[in-house]
Subunit: 121 residues, 2 copies
Amino acid sequence: MSITADLIRGHTDAIILAALLQGDSYGYRINRAMVDLTDGRYELKEATLYTAFRRLEEAGYIRSYWGDEATGARRRYYAITLNGKNAYYAMMREWREASGLLEKLMRFGGTDGGDDSTEQI
Amino acid sequence: MSITADLIRGHTDAIILAALLQGDSYGYRINRAMVDLTDGRYELKEATLYTAFRRLEEAGYIRSYWGDEATGARRRYYAITLNGKNAYYAMMREWREASGLLEKLMRFGGTDGGDDSTEQI
DNA sequence: CTGAAATACCTTGACAGGCGAGGTATCTTG
DNA sequence: CAAGATACCTCGCCTGTCAAGGTATTTCAG
């Protein structure tokens, strides 16, 4: 089944920026790409996605403009800015460090002293 | 500098359970172990820690009891339960899957279709 | 002896991100 | 014509984090 929300929390921005690194895109399509890439195990919920777009635009990491397609529903396209790219690389560095730490912490919580009572039930 | 909270968010429970897999321990010590293991780059804040203890105990993943040390401040020890161990293994499986997906999504957001406008500024 | 720091616990209230539910409008297809 | 896909958006709740504040005990420098 799908990944729990909290494991994803905080990564939404990086995911969206990564998608936009490939070129301008719009909400619905980015969402679809996520589902496809993960074989349906992960989906950016719409409310989350659009909230993130607004957050990212406010931060100056993306710009938006309306598409001019004559056919189909109107689309709001997003483009990553220079600041956005820099932010993305920073997020990736953070992610690498954090996941390394997490791996270490979760593999071995390490109370290390090992003297106290260790009775189990 | 320290890792941002949101990257760690949701992993607190797994971290605590991992620590308790090594044997019973108490809040202050677990916290110290985290700081030591990560060279100070990550710290479980006290409020977060004690909130998590209550959450985990309520879920039946840990049990608690007061230590009987004659010296020093009183300590509340925590022990992981069978349910807690199972939960820990489940969390680890989830983490493995989620981090794999995340890695994929963040490395390549993949709008894949690559037909639309791709102008950048 | 005194006062600061360390050990050890705990609660309250605010905040931020995720998302269920609900809504709008257009186009396609049976 | 109705249903479903495409495409956008908002409101309000929930949950986990944490700054700030608090208690009590022990240790140790001055």
